[in-house]
Symmetry: C2
Subunit: 239 residues, 2 copies
Amino acid sequence: MTDRVVRPAARQRRRPTKQGVVLSEELIVETALRLIEEHGADALSVRRLGRALGADPSSLYRYFRHTDDLMLAIADELIGRTLRTWRPTGDWRADLRDLGMRMHAGALAHPRAAVLSSYRVTGRGYEIQAVETILGVLRGAGFPDAEAVRIYHAFVDQALSFGALDAAGAALPRAAREAETAVWRAKYGRLPADTHPHIAATARHLVADMRHSSYPVALDLLLSAAEVRLTEIRGRPEA
Amino acid sequence: MTDRVVRPAARQRRRPTKQGVVLSEELIVETALRLIEEHGADALSVRRLGRALGADPSSLYRYFRHTDDLMLAIADELIGRTLRTWRPTGDWRADLRDLGMRMHAGALAHPRAAVLSSYRVTGRGYEIQAVETILGVLRGAGFPDAEAVRIYHAFVDQALSFGALDAAGAALPRAAREAETAVWRAKYGRLPADTHPHIAATARHLVADMRHSSYPVALDLLLSAAEVRLTEIRGRPEA
DNA sequence: GACCTTATGACAACACCGTTGACCTGTTAA
DNA sequence: TTAACAGGTCAACGGTGTTGTCATAAGGTC
């Protein structure tokens, strides 16, 4: 098969679909994001997307090689949106906390795309910009180069991996998600103290805590530890 | 529909399939794990699993309500394997570090299953055992109940999510994985200092660091922060 | 050993999925 | 005016999870 996808710049003959819609890469990505937001991650299929656009499903293959391609385009758009709304203040810890929370929220808003894009290095514009900015925050705070890189790496991977983890949970069909909270309440909440003393003693906290993401806690722990390291380093600058 | 699944204890008539296989929950889970490892997560479908077992796909619905049920059984088996080889020593920090590293290694050993199972609560035997044990370590160390639960949650999610992240990377086709390291070396390693000063200054560290998992660093940061919290709590026991 | 109940495996069908090769037609450039 | 072809459409392929129905062999009872 010769490639059916044409690069956007080369597009010229904008013929509307039978239902009168003029397709474009942007319109498809936008519609896909809307579909995910409105009807859950399961709602995103080539056929449903085609229906939502008012076009034959196969038309989409003129714009994306396959579904994965579409996902990456969506992911790229998401990175851009996250970064675009972030303004560093100069307080390194507050800035990183804000950025981490934004990345996490972005992932939750678009679970399907987040899961796919979390473990890929794109090497594209927005990603490079993010690396440069975060490294700048850390070095500006006084972390030596090697340490800055180590903490950058842990920070980013933690944001991405928790984002993907929580996104995957959010992308579960509604029934499965409700089953999960039911498990915590019904199963862990009722274990007898003689066989499971620690669960029984903390059951109340467990049921309350496990329904939320642990990312904020994990993020604060990471930043706290980094801050401690920083004061140690400042104590002996030549370390 | 009356439920087609029968609890294992009640099973009595072990009739072999047409191809002579005697089905059981254990056999199904084992075969599913083997299938995932050998042919990738995509290879796991009810129909393929049936074929691999020598049974009609619909037979599996006598053992699992739906695919989701099966995934939970697989996840629990993985937890069990990790837990079985772990021996706590009484040093809470060392024990949690060891357990975290084991969970991470377990995920890497079964990348595709890890990705699928990381975000599910199984509510099954091994998982309950793991929760009880970790909570015991934390409470034994002196963390008050609410704090123990918070740290338990962050610790477990961190191990699972980094496990899934690194597993997903490891499960990439070889070509894609090599492309990723190439991006770091060729793209990030060569950015000019005037446009990207921070990346340029740390390029050497970046290229070296990004090829490894950041989990050990992230884990140590989390445990360090927890230790600090613990000494604070001990300072004022009634907090 | 014969008989009955019923658990359990098998079959066929349903509605969906991603993807592709062939076709048709409106837009555009010459 | 016309010819080329980008881009939308159609139909089909082989896959998916799931379920209603049926057949049969296992196990208990006599």
